[in-house]
Symmetry: C2
Subunit: 334 residues, 2 copies
Amino acid sequence: MKLKEIGEDRIIKELSREFSRRHRRLVKGIGDDTSVTLQAGGRHLLATTDILIEGTHFKRGWTTPYLLGRKALSISLSDVAAMGGEPLFYLVSVALPPDTEKQFLDELYRGLSDCGKEHGAVLAGGNTAKTKGAVMVATTLFGEAPAQETVYRSGAGPGDVIYVTGCIGDAALGLRLLKKHGGAALKRTAFRKPVMRQLDPSPRMSVGRSLARKRLATAMIDVSDGLVLDLKRLCEAGAVGAVIDARRVPLSAEFKRLFPAAGTTDGIRRALTGGEDYELLFSAPEKAAKKISALSSRDVPVTPIGVITRSKDVCVTFTAGRPLKISRAGFEHF
Amino acid sequence: MKLKEIGEDRIIKELSREFSRRHRRLVKGIGDDTSVTLQAGGRHLLATTDILIEGTHFKRGWTTPYLLGRKALSISLSDVAAMGGEPLFYLVSVALPPDTEKQFLDELYRGLSDCGKEHGAVLAGGNTAKTKGAVMVATTLFGEAPAQETVYRSGAGPGDVIYVTGCIGDAALGLRLLKKHGGAALKRTAFRKPVMRQLDPSPRMSVGRSLARKRLATAMIDVSDGLVLDLKRLCEAGAVGAVIDARRVPLSAEFKRLFPAAGTTDGIRRALTGGEDYELLFSAPEKAAKKISALSSRDVPVTPIGVITRSKDVCVTFTAGRPLKISRAGFEHF
């Protein structure tokens, strides 16, 4: 059987079932945003690894080495944010063709370094390797959280409100603009915001950490592969379902302006399944609503979009409460 | 300037100088076998990342997915051994073409898992990604050691004896046999030992840990890129030099039998610069000789091969104490 016929989630699930082993210090292995390991001092060590491959995750003509470095770390930071943790250190492996200009690597590391500085993460090691093929950047990030504060994907209970940070769909729109206009899209002022949301996502460290510290979120995940797909993962982990109202999912002014079908079912479908938003999707008891709205800001709004249900289904309503059929919930890695 | 014109060591050094930052919990970042971070409970967390790329580090026809998985973890384990640490957890990223058979990934993970079990390391997470290009396996391993026991590359003092575990040169011989005979070399009984030393190296966890626990080694590194090159790294880190006697460097019976030039300067040069032995190279005070020889076994001999000097040069003697000229100290990654 071929990988593309199975799909990433099932592959990971099967690998996890087959190869996960118990260890007194492994709190959470495969199947969450980061692994969680108990440090000697009682704090959770959070570790996550991500990989960006040329031709799969980026095109050299559509980005810059600097932005590539930033993104490589941001997507790992987003995973740590989704656990409610604080980032600490990161390791990087870069594979490049031997005739690559040194400047490429410098710029890439500068992107990593700047992004790390903004969020308090420090480069702790790494290596470079030669490849005849695609450029590749693999990042491993360690973070930590007090053991009692870590927020898992599981934990959502029926009646909990579902929230999402920021706006959804801009990263997918940015990708669309890059596909249509190539690298030129980077230079068009009107396209800048969605294109940068695709190339330089903002991990929501502060909201993630606050939710954890105040013990407000019952479950959390970052939106990497599409809101609907990641919501399904959160629901599956908690053995619950969800109903979300697509009209409440926040869309940016740029999305509404630049995406011709923004207000239609096609438009909302694309926003909900596009992926790479790196926003936080979480559930919280209804009684936490006031404290959660206090975390909402103009830059990073926190918006209630639905509710956790007892059924195992994830249902999206759009016009007049009618369910919106979504055949492809998000980005499948194979 | 192109990467291949600079060389990996200089690239890493420059990146380290430019991008390393201080952090109260980062004990050692770039420039050693693993990063060292202080855990909350006072133990060092050791973390290392490695990457195997098809066409650069392996050929699919020359190995099996199972052996590839084993090697991906073994080379990281060897790094933790070289710090005197114990392995704990690992993360894996695998990039594969979408039409890869699922069995390939299963076998790869089985190799990882079996190797992990043998050394007490547990899979803690990972991901898979699609690539149109080369197959790639990136491993991140965490280990730990009591803070006062961690062994660094630096620390060798003039007069210290230089030791190496196991035999040197078999992995290079194995590669030579694979280049000559292709995958068929895997099946030839006479070739099996050196070929398996290339495809399935044995990290020296037990010797590494014992040296650390008993505080015998003043400096340590694993032999990944060639004994001479890695000895140069150890000397540079400690601002010392070394003289080693090539005739004392242990060669296996297979090396002597299968490598026609084994007894010549060409033969010894290849053994000393071939790389991928994943043996431990360390220095220790002369007075520790007895305790160190107690760690030596038939399977994993520990052999004194030279001495640390005050000069900054690394000198290899062969016939009658005459220096052996070595133009290429080991494997350069670019």
